[in-house]
């Protein structure tokens, strides 16, 4: 039995070697997939002593074969076939190299996520398709379009870490669709972000993002009730939270903050850490959370989502009417604006207005669990 994890871990390493040798990304990715298929056929259930070397040899041969058969291209791409200079780059550099290609800004976030899961995460196209609830052929098409887009782009030696962080954040935030479909994007995003942090240990935002993920993921066991419905933060059974993940997240965050270059992921992680630190919802340190929202607003000026979340914190610190004044200044079409206004109106004692706004928010949301939750809030306030 070949260890699935072994192949998944080796996939990006082998791909990294090919790309570093000068293979273009799309062709290298195809070659690695071919080599993995060969491994499944030839290893007879047992990996060779040097599985990575075996895969690199086969993948490189596949790459050269594919190049030769594309005879029209051979002449102008001879240069790319030269054997590489002796490898000086480390494996960790390869991870960043691959991630920055997969998360290139020319790709839509959805395409970048799919390509990252396949090329760096080592997931099969079928697994990715399941996570996104689309047919496998559609996902295959999406990935090959992404590769075609990349074929026309030029790359820096190492790519833009910011773009990589953004894609990994979105992958994590895709939700626990995995609960229903068997593919877990959040866990995968954490695994990939760990690899990234290992390759850019001096980047506080990479560490901040990993901390943010762990601090949210820690609450996962409490996030749904027995019927699968979302339990809001204030009502979660905090004894179910994963202490080890919280501790790791807090440690990472402290390391990141000590580098003294605060960014949006560190600020968001700090807010998550303050929530995780409260033994009960009532003990939440809202004044400190508000300070971090102020910081976040300085880092991402004009972000309506930050402004909306900050209004909740203001509601807790300065009272619901102060929070409402901020909400009322925001674009009425902003998602979740009505839900936040409803929450603050209830705190202020305006039950009828809260019920009306909860109902409006339920009509407007496109998130299933939120729809149910908001309807229940409206129903609760309309009853008594």
């Amino acid at each position: 039995m070949i260890d699935d994890h072994l192949l998944r871990d080796l996939t990006p390493q082998v791909l990294g070697v090919l790309v570093r040798r000068g293979a273009d990304f799309a062709a290298a990715e195809d070659a690695v997939q071919d080599a993995l298929a060969e491994a499944v056929r030839h290893w007879n259930g047992e990996a060779p002593d040097e599985p990575k070397a075996w895969l690199v040899t086969v993948a490189w041969r596949k790459f050269l074969d594919a190049r030769r058969s594309a005879s029209a291209r051979v002449m102008r791409e001879v240069a790319a076939h030269r054997e590489p200079p002796p490898g000086h780059a480390e494996q960790s550099d390869d991870t960043l190299l691959l991630l920055s290609r997969c998360c290139h800004p020319a790709l839509s976030p959805a395409s970048a996520i799919a390509l990252t899961l396949r090329a760096v995460g080592g997931l099969t196209t079928a697994e990715i398709a399941r996570a996104f609830l689309v047919p496998e052929s559609t996902m295959a098409q999406r990935i090959s379009r992404a590769k075609r887009t990349l074929a026309g782009e030029r790359f820096e030696r190492l790519g833009d870490v910011r773009a990589v962080l953004r894609v990994l954040y979105l992958m994590f935030d895709q939700g626990f669709a995995g609960d229903r479909t068997g593919g877990d994007l959040s866990t995968e995003a954490i695994r990939l972000t760990r690899q990234l942090v290992a390759s850019v240990p001096q980047d506080p935002e990479a560490a901040g993002l990993l901390a943010l993920m762990l601090l949210h993921h820690a609450r996962r066991p409490a996030r749904r009730d027995a019927s699968g419905q979302i339990v809001p933060l204030a009502e979660q059974d905090r004894s179910l939270w994963d202490e080890a993940k919280i501790a790791e997240g807090v440690d990472l965050l402290q390391l990141a903050l000590a580098m003294d270059r605060v960014g949006e992921y560190q600020a968001q992680a700090a807010i998550a850490a303050l929530h995780d630190d409260a033994a009960s919802a009532d003990e939440t340190d809202w004044p400190q959370i508000l300070e971090w929202y102020d910081e976040l607003e300085r880092i991402t000026p004009g972000s309506p989502v930050v402004a909306l979340n900050r209004a909740v914190a203001v509601g807790h610190v300065d009272g619901p009417l102060a929070g409402l004044r901020l909400v009322e200044a925001l674009d009425p079409g902003l998602p979740r604006r009505d839900a936040v206004a409803a929450y603050l109106h209830e705190q202020a004692g305006n039950r009828a207005e809260a019920a009306r706004l909860y109902k409006a928010a339920a009509q407007a949301t496109v998130i299933e669990a939120e729809h149910t939750h908001l309807l229940k809030q409206a129903a609760r306030l309309s009853r008594d």
Binding site: L133, P135, Q141, I143, G175, F176, H371
Partner: protein, 136 residues
């Protein structure tokens, strides 16, 4: 990415454009072929873009069925009365934006009909409810 249902109606919905009024049996056979071909091409295009999820056509006949209490047979009502809205079929797409969903719906609405003119028929566009994001 977000999923959208594009619904085609046999009847019902807002008043149709003049081009969409003639029933299909009044079209020339080649016009029906062209219409079907258009649908097939559109599905191929969606697949090529990595946006295709599902496409189905429904037969015009059917019944409404309702629970009538334990131990009693289901109540049925049918066939559909002329006044009832009738769904002809759907496509499900997974796209980057609502604008792109509208663009795809408009393209579906441009399918050729009688006299090879675009139908301009109304397409109902409905977003799917999604999973909750992870970050609270």
């Amino acid at each position: 990415m977000a999923k959208y249902l594009l619904l085609k109606h046999y009847r019902g919905g807002p008043k149709q454009h003049a081009n969409a009024e003639a029933p299909m049996e009044d079209w020339a056979p080649a016009e029906i072929t062209a219409h079907i071909q258009f649908m097939g091409d559109m599905i191929e295009d969606l697949k090529e873009r990595g946006e295709f999820v599902d496409a189905q056509a429904l037969a015009p006949q059917g019944d409404f069925v309702r629970y009538d209490g334990d131990g009693r047979p289901p109540v049925t009502d049918g066939p559909f009365a002329e006044t009832k809205d009738l769904i002809a079929g759907w496509m499900v797409i997974d796209v980057d934006s609502r604008e792109r969903a509208y663009e795809a719906a408009a393209h579906l609405s441009s399918a050729p009909g009688k006299d090879s003119l675009p139908l301009h028929e109304w397409i109902e566009v409905r977003p799917f409810l999604n999973e909750a994001p992870t970050v609270e």
